[in-house]
């Protein structure tokens, strides 16, 4: 390989293309953008999102599920994901749920419609969990909703339940 590398590193062709070796790092996609992490491979995704990218919608609070993100479409705890495991993967955070034109995801709109918000700190986690659930079960039962991993001390659960049912019933958006 080294020989091949050497062979294909000739002088610059003169059209502005600068030859560059592949650097070390972990390539991943976050909310549709490409990133390369070159720091500690064991750094949890949560701190990469919050400290490095300043994407602070994903919260520090694993037990409440406030740190949930979609990893290749599946809800996972961001603090439990070391960056080294994320090479080539795609992450969606709460900031990435809305469309590029700012149009809200139906789950986001339903949370607004039902005012399914307490202090709001754990809300991003509920949204991610709801998106994940609705993808697996477009018409979730109350028992399905009982399986959501999130916790909320403000007591927003009954309103969250209404919001998710509203999406499932296709009744999103102000009447």
């Amino acid at each position: 390989m080294a020989l091949a590398q050497d062979l294909v590193t000739p002088a610059a062709p003169g059209n502005g293309i600068v030859p560059e070796k592949v650097r070390d790092g972990i390539d991943l996609e976050i909310n549709g953008e490409h990133y390369r992490h070159t720091g500690d491979p064991q750094m949890p995704l949560l701190w990469y999102l919050r400290d490095v990218l300043r994407l602070t919608g994903t919260k520090y609070a694993r037990e409440t599920g406030a740190d949930l993100v979609l990893l290749n479409g599946k809800a996972v705890s961001a603090i439990a994901q070391p960056m080294v495991k994320l090479a080539g993967k795609s992450v969606i955070t709460v900031e990435g749920l809305a469309a590029n034109d700012g149009g809200l995801h139906p789950v986001q709109q339903a949370f607004i419609d039902e005012d399914a918000i307490g202090c709001g700190y754990c809300t991003p986690g509920w949204l991610i969990a709801a998106v994940d659930l609705l993808k697996r079960k477009p018409r979730p039962t109350d028992d399905d909703l009982d399986q959501l991993p999130n916790l909320c001390r403000c007591g927003c659960q009954t309103r969250v339940r209404r919001a998710i049912k509203r999406v499932a019933a296709g009744k999103v958006g102000p009447a």
Binding site: R50, D113, D115, G118, C119, G120, Q147, C154, G155, T158
Partner: protein, 756 residues
């Protein structure tokens, strides 16, 4: 939680001046200042456009957009929505053109003393809406008055012939002027000598109408920043390990491995300052790891090698404290405080035909906020910038001021949306920690606790033991009631005199005071080094659990329907004077009780296979009742239905109120089902959120049916914890009907499974 606890040292002058602050060109700004008698109306001042520096409550731009400042920290109580709507209604603003910004602390320098520019600024104690009803309506009314005067000049019509509607002044001939076009000239109108009149209630357009949270869109898109989401580029991240004993000491520290972690820059010690009241200094000795980023800091924290030595409290346990309480309540010692003594309970007892007695146990509780303790501090020579999740920014200011010696107006405190408070953020130990560390490293510091630390180092809601006795005459009327209670006061070590320590532990007017002719209430003080402080719903949680369970037991002893017992105790509709002022309106209590009973179909109480339970309470001039239906499936308790009725007087935001009532109900059920803090060998035994399991979706009811009693003739009472006290007793009473097991000790699930 109680205003008496939270107000210490912050007494506000009732004399205030309304103030107009002419902003940049074409902007009207209206604010409020506390003032001394010598103050003349202040000259117009030019204020910056930075929202956090907004010096006024109301700002109207030339294009008609209205910016309204939210004074009180919003910890999930909805005050960032309801308080600005009170102003907006008086202003006749178009709500769709209103933006709300959190004000942060309003403080200016009054000869070296702080002057609180926005008056009272406390969130999550039930006092925000009642206070706003008194002073914030005037903000909107003044701005509206100024706009009307400006319009009168422009239109050549007398102001009292004009009317306002949704951001527009309308003349009798139909001419219309938008507020935006009037803002500049309104800013130049001389202030009235007296506050302008307030709107007639029949003209309210926003008050009483439902409104969603103003931050909802920002929250669901991850854009609304909490304090924990704020950064300074050069700030060091500080994480701590606290001593397991509040009065312990550091015996040995080896930071070699911690310092070897890439990114870790410093390891420092912190100690509580002697002589400072609880909540004003570090909560326990601690070692801090300061690093370039959170991950490095947390790794460094794990690599610290620490040995702690216990202090005098090293042998304390919650079990021993409870035994001490039982011994006091069963003994003959005089109480620490006789809280109330109507008639003669002993004499009533001698004449009684029947006597009932029972003892109830409320466990210790932790705050367990979603957003952990954190604080961002930047200290410059003549300025401090602090971003902090606090419920009481004036108290945070006091801690920063003491530790920095800066002048009142040199300290800036930003309070973004707060990730839960429940009383924890009325104390500011974590602010003291961040300021001490920023001073030590001469750099900005971003302090972060883990959720485990939040559990292990809290100002806990104190556990309590309640021994209740009731006596009845031959006609089954309650003639005497004796409550003996023991707890460790939440006001101890906070500069409160000994004879007032009971005030955080029980309410002299709590049910059934004023309803039973011979009523005695005694409080016994317990002592422990475990810190206590204000806790959402306390002291009503333990007291209502005991009293409302006990009434159910009295009914059972007389083979009576507990609703009948409740109603007989309440008697006819009437107003009874309360010792703290105000009245107990039994009619309002009867109404909420009957409403929940009707909704849950109480007539099925006797024959239903499911269990039905009911409870009612009153606090701070508001009334609440719960009715709950449960079923047992093996060892699984299913809460089938929960109905809650409240009467809070006038309702500002019915949608917000429903959210608070449902939320408080679920929070109280979560407490009642699962939660307890215990300590042994002087150390808290719950180290991780898993050890303090908030209720899951599966444990909680699918819905809370909220009934709001319309009562617009009375001013609004606070509701942030109103619906907490009755949830646990209604649940325990329902469980008794379903299982024949009487749970007198919370948390309920553990006790129920033990007794089944």
């Amino acid at each position: 939680m109680n205003e008496r606890i939270t107000h210490d040292g912050i007494r506000l002058s009732r004399r205030r001046f309304l103030q107009v602050l002419a902003g940049g060109a074409g902007v009207l700004m209206v604010g409020i200042r506390t003032a001394r008698a010598v103050d003349a109306p202040l000259p117009p001042a030019l204020l910056g456009d930075n929202f956090y520096d907004l010096g006024a409550y109301v700002r109207i731009d030339g294009d008609g957009n209205v910016l309204i400042g939210a004074r009180d920290p919003d910890t999930g109580t909805g005050v960032a929505t309801s308080l600005p709507r009170i102003i907006a209604d008086e202003l006749d603003a178009d709500w769709t053109r209103v933006s709300v910004v959190p004000l942060g602390l309003g403080v200016s320098d009054n000869n070296g003393q702080p002057r609180w520019d926005y008056g009272r600024q406390i969130g999550g104690t039930g006092g925000s809406i009642p206070a706003a009803w008194n002073d914030l309506r005037q903000m909107g009314a003044l701005a509206r008055w100024l706009l009307l005067q400006a319009a009168a000049r422009q239109l050549g019509v007398q102001a009292d012939r004009l009317r306002c509607d949704s951001g527009t002044v309308i003349a009798p001939d139909g001419r219309r002027l938008g507020y935006g076009s009037l803002a500049e000239s309104a800013g130049k109108i001389a202030l009235p000598n007296n506050p302008p009149p307030l709107k007639a209630p029949d003209r309210y357009r926003l008050i009483g109408q439902p409104a969603g949270d103003v931050d909802a869109r920002g929250i669901v898109t991850g854009q609304t920043p909490f304090a924990i989401d704020h950064f300074y580029g050069d700030a060091l991240v500080a994480v701590l390990v606290h001593c397991p004993w509040p009065d312990g000491t550091l015996a040995n520290l080896d930071a070699t491995d911690a310092m070897a972690v890439k990114g870790v820059l410093k390891v420092l010690q912190l100690k509580p300052e002697p002589g400072q009241p609880l909540g004003h200094t570090v909560i326990a000795p601690a070692v801090a790891v300061l690093a370039e980023d959170t991950w490095s800091a947390l790794q460094g924290r794990q690599k610290l090698k620490l040995e702690w030595k216990p202090g005098a409290s090293g042998s304390e346990s919650s079990a021993a404290l409870e035994q001490q309480a039982d011994a006091l309540l069963n003994g003959k010692t005089e109480p620490t405080s006789r809280v109330r003594n109507d008639g003669d309970f002993d004499a009533a007892g001698r004449k009684a035909a029947r006597r009932v007695q029972a003892t109830y146990y409320q466990p210790w509780l932790a705050h367990a906020t979603a957003e952990p303790m954190n604080c961002l501090v930047r200290l410059d020579k003549d300025h401090a910038s602090v971003v902090v999740p606090t419920q009481a920014p004036q108290k945070a200011w006091a801690v920063v001021q003491r530790l920095t010696g800066l002048g009142p107006a040199q300290i800036e405190i930003k309070v973004p949306r707060v990730g839960g408070g429940y009383g924890r953020r009325l104390d500011h130990d974590y602010v003291a920690e961040a300021v001490m560390l920023a001073k030590a490293v001469d750099k900005p510091v971003r302090l972060l606790w883990t959720h485990g630390q939040d559990l292990e180092h809290d100002y806990y809601g104190c556990g309590s033991v309640h021994q209740l006795s009731a006596v009845m005459d031959r006609k089954r009327q309650l003639t005497g009631w004796n409550q003996r209670m023991a707890s460790a006061s939440a006001l101890a070590r906070r500069g409160v005199p000994d004879n007032r320590l009971w005030t955080s532990e029980l309410d002299a007017d709590q049910l059934p005071a004023a309803l039973v002719p011979n009523y005695r209430s005694d409080w016994y003080a317990l002592n422990t080094a475990i810190p206590r402080g204000p806790m959402r719903g306390m002291p009503h949680l333990g007291n209502a659990f005991a009293v409302q369970s006990f009434i159910d037991e009295i009914a059972q002893s007389m083979k009576e329907d507990p609703l009948d017992t409740q109603l007989r105790l309440l008697g006819p509709s009437r107003q009874l004077p309360l010792s703290a002022g105000g009245v107990l309106d039994t009619g309002r209590l009867i109404k909420v009780l009957k409403l929940v009973a009707d909704r849950i179909e109480w007539k099925n109480w006797l024959h239903s296979v499911n269990g039905l339970g009911i409870a009612c309470w009153h606090l701070n001039g508001a009334y609440v009742a719960h009715a709950i239906e449960v079923a047992m499936q093996g060892e699984r308790l299913i809460i089938q239905r929960v109905v809650c009725a409240v009467d809070v007087g006038r309702v500002i935001n019915p949608q917000g109120l429903e959210g608070q009532v449902a939320g408080a109900t679920l929070d109280a059920l979560s407490n009642a089902l699962n939660l307890a803090i215990t300590f042994k060998d002087g150390q808290i035994q719950q180290h991780h959120p898993k050890d303090y399991p908030l209720a899951t979706m599966a444990q909680l009811p699918d819905a809370v049916e909220v009934i709001v009693v319309p009562n617009d003739d009375l001013p609004p009472a606070g509701a942030s914890f109103l619906a907490m006290p009755t949830a646990a007793p209604a649940l325990a009473n329902a469980v008794f009907r379903a299982t024949a097991v009487r749970v007198r000790r919370l948390p309920l699930m553990k006790e129920l499974l033990r007794l089944l």
